[in-house]
Symmetry: D2
Subunit: 428 residues, 4 copies
Amino acid sequence: MQTMQMENITQHDVADLGLAEAGRKRINWAAREMPVLKLIEDRFREEKPLQNILIAACLHVTTETARLVEVLQTAGATIRLCASNPLSTQDDVAAALVQHGIAVFAKRGEDPQAYHLHLHKAADIMPAVTLDDGADLIAMLHRERTDLLPLVLGGTEETTTGVMRLRAMAKNGVLRYPVIAVNDAMTKHLFDNRYGTGQSTIDGLLRATNVLIAGKVFVVAGYGWCSRGIAMRAKGEGANVVVTEINPLRALEAAMDGYRVMPMNEAAKIGDIFVTATGDINVIDRPHFERMKDDAILANSGHFNVEIDVQSLSEMSCNIAHPRPHVTTFTMDDGRKLQLLAEGRLVNLSAAEGHPSAVMDMSFANQALCVEYIVAQSRLHRLPDRIHRVPVAIDEQVAKVKLEAMSLKIDTLTEQQQQYQSAWETGT
Amino acid sequence: MQTMQMENITQHDVADLGLAEAGRKRINWAAREMPVLKLIEDRFREEKPLQNILIAACLHVTTETARLVEVLQTAGATIRLCASNPLSTQDDVAAALVQHGIAVFAKRGEDPQAYHLHLHKAADIMPAVTLDDGADLIAMLHRERTDLLPLVLGGTEETTTGVMRLRAMAKNGVLRYPVIAVNDAMTKHLFDNRYGTGQSTIDGLLRATNVLIAGKVFVVAGYGWCSRGIAMRAKGEGANVVVTEINPLRALEAAMDGYRVMPMNEAAKIGDIFVTATGDINVIDRPHFERMKDDAILANSGHFNVEIDVQSLSEMSCNIAHPRPHVTTFTMDDGRKLQLLAEGRLVNLSAAEGHPSAVMDMSFANQALCVEYIVAQSRLHRLPDRIHRVPVAIDEQVAKVKLEAMSLKIDTLTEQQQQYQSAWETGT
Amino acid sequence: MQTMQMENITQHDVADLGLAEAGRKRINWAAREMPVLKLIEDRFREEKPLQNILIAACLHVTTETARLVEVLQTAGATIRLCASNPLSTQDDVAAALVQHGIAVFAKRGEDPQAYHLHLHKAADIMPAVTLDDGADLIAMLHRERTDLLPLVLGGTEETTTGVMRLRAMAKNGVLRYPVIAVNDAMTKHLFDNRYGTGQSTIDGLLRATNVLIAGKVFVVAGYGWCSRGIAMRAKGEGANVVVTEINPLRALEAAMDGYRVMPMNEAAKIGDIFVTATGDINVIDRPHFERMKDDAILANSGHFNVEIDVQSLSEMSCNIAHPRPHVTTFTMDDGRKLQLLAEGRLVNLSAAEGHPSAVMDMSFANQALCVEYIVAQSRLHRLPDRIHRVPVAIDEQVAKVKLEAMSLKIDTLTEQQQQYQSAWETGT
Amino acid sequence: MQTMQMENITQHDVADLGLAEAGRKRINWAAREMPVLKLIEDRFREEKPLQNILIAACLHVTTETARLVEVLQTAGATIRLCASNPLSTQDDVAAALVQHGIAVFAKRGEDPQAYHLHLHKAADIMPAVTLDDGADLIAMLHRERTDLLPLVLGGTEETTTGVMRLRAMAKNGVLRYPVIAVNDAMTKHLFDNRYGTGQSTIDGLLRATNVLIAGKVFVVAGYGWCSRGIAMRAKGEGANVVVTEINPLRALEAAMDGYRVMPMNEAAKIGDIFVTATGDINVIDRPHFERMKDDAILANSGHFNVEIDVQSLSEMSCNIAHPRPHVTTFTMDDGRKLQLLAEGRLVNLSAAEGHPSAVMDMSFANQALCVEYIVAQSRLHRLPDRIHRVPVAIDEQVAKVKLEAMSLKIDTLTEQQQQYQSAWETGT
């Protein structure tokens, strides 16, 4: 009865341990598409680079995250995991992880109090390393558990949103331990943010609504890596895509890529579907709701549920209904209906299954290697208290292993070519 | 207690009447995107063109079909509905229709016996008009209920597969009532088959597997309207698409559209994902399974589950497992695993929700108007016993109304332009 | 000095025989991409199916046309060739053909009188077969040379525009010999009109203007095979494409393909570049010119130079200049400048080199085989005086040979698959 | 007779001053699409920031370059211009510039001696600022005119290739004046390299060959900004694109973008068209030529003509012919023909007109502002002798002005949004 024992000794707060087997099956399915993490796990099993390291992880509790924490466990670490979003937890995965001996504190749909309590539960492990996806754990530690800060060797952050938040902390001089911006690795944001968010956002949208995308005016707020992934895939489904931006350079790129570019005030009047992925607040707001067409669909793929001003939407509505799972219909006084998906939370994680494993493989390979790096560096001297880039060697290693896993071969520079690159005399 | 009464008087065999409310909600959701059918319903309510007409319908029991049969009922018809595929029935919709007074005989996952029995239950209404999606009802009537054939004024057929089958019947001289090939309407196959099957096949594939499509070698069998829709959307998701064909003209088009074209024997060796949509049998067969890569994914979007030779696949396997809903893993003797989706049945209807309502709106508007046409014509003289085209006037009417519903305005020919088109004297 | 002799005996009116060698080089270059016509030539050389047949051809005098008339000559025919557009003649090709013993009457930039005279020169051969590209020769024969009509066994027509014109003749009951609508062959219009016109129109536009297409609002008038080819390629260059149509079905397709659809009156206000390919008159007209932005670019890819109302444009202008070859700048009274390309004539033939040889290979293979068919049929009994379709066998043969030439292999139906397609009993 | 006077006083070595009027017309045409540079010119006319500054510019002598040097002249500078490639000079532009009072030393097709001499002629002005496109002028000064180096306040470099070369110089410690890497400005490489090279490379390819791109296997060497622009446009024309790379990260991106990725050795066997844009030497080499299909087309879009090993190609050939302008046919001993475009030099500049003005507008706006910056900075203190980035303020200014010129409006952050971005406390 090893399993029962496990449950006895592993602390947890999950929805239903009975879902463990279903979760395990799905984790195994995800593992198929995560060869890079698998290779790292094989090495970690030999080398045990995280022996006796305590880790607190605040991540979306998904099948891919399960693989990451298992790999860290294989390396010798002890881990506590809480959710980085109250709606994104996959309860079967949470159960399977508990059964695997990992302390999980996460229930899908938990209320803000439970969410907050679970952050503390994770922190109670007194971590040497933290993993974040949106910086909620780091922020909480800096606000409410400052006693623990000196123990932390370093942290990692997965998202654009979290990195923006941490840069604000660093700029304000309050950041008290080093953090590696995993998001900024090339093998992370170029793939996860673009191809991952792109595909999974459309996926969430379709699971939630089953609407035909071809022929729709599809408004994407932002033209960063996530939002250009969304725009690219919406175009790939036959949508007529409109982009809104605040950055002139990105706006120009969007225009040159063939999209219409206009302010949200204009886009609001013509859009059939709106998706936000900007990392900022109230990107779709009261004045926009006022101009929208009847039956417009609103979704968010940014990390926090602040991009669509749901509060204003509620106040403007005389009726609120739930016609389908993940859809809330707000009826305005003038009779127009606006269809909000996933309550304005991450539509790809709420209504679908989040990013495909194949991209999370690369993002989490970076995570695993960065945790190893933080620990290894600290044995020499603690990294300075600021935002650090992912070491280039890690980035390149991830790319190489991924290519091999896809059976893709590429060229290498000949000696003559290397020499040419370092010469300057030869010209026309 | 009108509802209870309904249940008392409406014959049915559905999974659970308790699902009726959920089904009704979903039907209402679909109705949002079906403005053409709505306009037809409004007219039918006034004119009652199908007063006292008995109809047997063998269609996928989905929210969109619900709208069609409700519209026919509004027109004065009495309808019996059975499923056109054992796996595609949405049980909540079936329940909602029963509550709406329509006799439904369909349960998701019913066995072949039950499926067959339900065809007979539908036939028992002694129909004046039949509606088919794959020609199972017509074929059964011609085989087993020939006594009913003289009563039938005409039928309609929705799919490419069904039309192929009916042409075979007509060619063999056994077709005993007229059938309108709704599939061949421009406003049907150009939209439903291409944009509908395209989007929903990718949707089914993602719901079943959540794999990343970008970077995958995606093999599409066929380059007809359905399969080119699938190829287009797979490309839109970043796949590297390979097309197989038996028709040289279509093969050339696929090549000129930028896809690789090769025989299935070659494609089998390199594909990560395979989707069939040809209307023919054993398109992926034993020799192909033998060459496939480990972990290849196989799905079908053609009407019948004959395109992938599941029988051979089973025989070649030493183990069969079910890692996720809609996924069956066949392990070969050499250790390779092949992942079959939805048991080789229509992946878009089995693993997702079938075509988006917006395209079914056009297909079913054609259906409703063709049923009206059959009945109206028969009052003058019965149509000849052959395959008929959808009248051009119906096709054009559907297109015009759809454009209006999308708020799209187009040009009209000026008098001068009309004149120019009918003149031949003016040249260079 | 056989060449000199040739010049002595071959009647002609071309610009400069000294260009013959340059023309021959370019014809050879085109021949590289015309393997289907080459195979037909090899057979014709053996079989001489057109022995002693007199042919009058009114075609764009390009390298590809050169190949066609040489193939007909190889088959035993005697040919006279005149231009089907005063601006499209390639003078070096005309010279090379004369040197090859073919009577050519065509000079680039010839005036209407010369153009008309050349039609008569071609007719003077007293043709048994005519070849047309726009139906100018057929129309002239029916108007001015009715004495010759009884001699004609049949004709062929290459373009959508010409077929429209001939249908008008047939409808008006004035068509006096049979014509095969080569344009309607699948291997013609699906390839030549779409991929050929698409690529070469963009090519003509760039050679004439060198403007960046990415980010431009690119208005395409029409969504037939030519215009959808143009739209597809404009999108492929990064344009934001707007489509105008008069046909609701095509308008719907354009919308579902992700383009904006609107009337020309609206499009006129926002377009940076306009291209017409409708086959109708005054598609861009005075009211549109009045609304256009400063510096808008106007081009036509339809057969006749009637689609843009150049007459009105001239009348509205206070100044007309020629800043670059193929560009005319019309300055309006309000200071706006409109840039007209190639005087409103076919921009792909005037400013670039017309369709790539690879698509003309298929179109002209159809032409060659249709001429053979007309002659062979007439030996049995003259075809009826109406528009005929290209025989399916010819269409399929062209596709097969082209695939082989591209080294592309496809599948063939197994016996079981053929049987399945002709069976109707098997269903779910 | 001011023009004659000009000719008397302006030193020059150009092909034919009689072409000046034609060149002026084309310069004016380009100016239409260069609104950013126009605005800068207006300010420079007022402020004269380059009064009495001597400039040597080694740039492709095109209409866009003409605008740049005219703007610098307007700012008060005196300029000498030589070509940065012997084949890219537009002789009419060179003539027009001389007439405008600018000393030009450049003739299309000049031999290496003349090219080299012209570099010296430009250097003879004893420049305070140098402009380079490929670093030939800087390299020559550092090799042969070291006496002039102390006079130079700074230089600018336009291309990826040139920047690579300068980094090699800096790394080797031989760079003796500061250089701004204009190429690395976002508003330069994201637009010029991607959209500019993409469109103009296809343009050059079509003008040189007129081949159909749809259906061709199109091999692009590299997946940097230039080469991904080429791949994108080749795909947009219907090609089946294959990418070769030496960088694993870029190779992964190419794969995820749907292209096939393989080593050149494999690609060589299947390609119909090859284009190089890597900045390195012998990217297509003898072993590749040996494997290529008959009639393969080879072109280069990288700065120097070293990417295709033309020397080896010549040695392997038994016959060399010139079937069309810009095409050289190499016949191998085994009978295969390889078609080399533009002698392996920049195909977009040699066979077409180089980048469209609209992108050069942004690149050259950066150039003009960087020259102003170098001069202004030097009045305070000379910039250090290394490679400098374009100041962010310049980059942003260019983007903003370009957006305005395109009449595109974008959003601005609200106060609340700015505050949110700088806060870290708020989370889930």
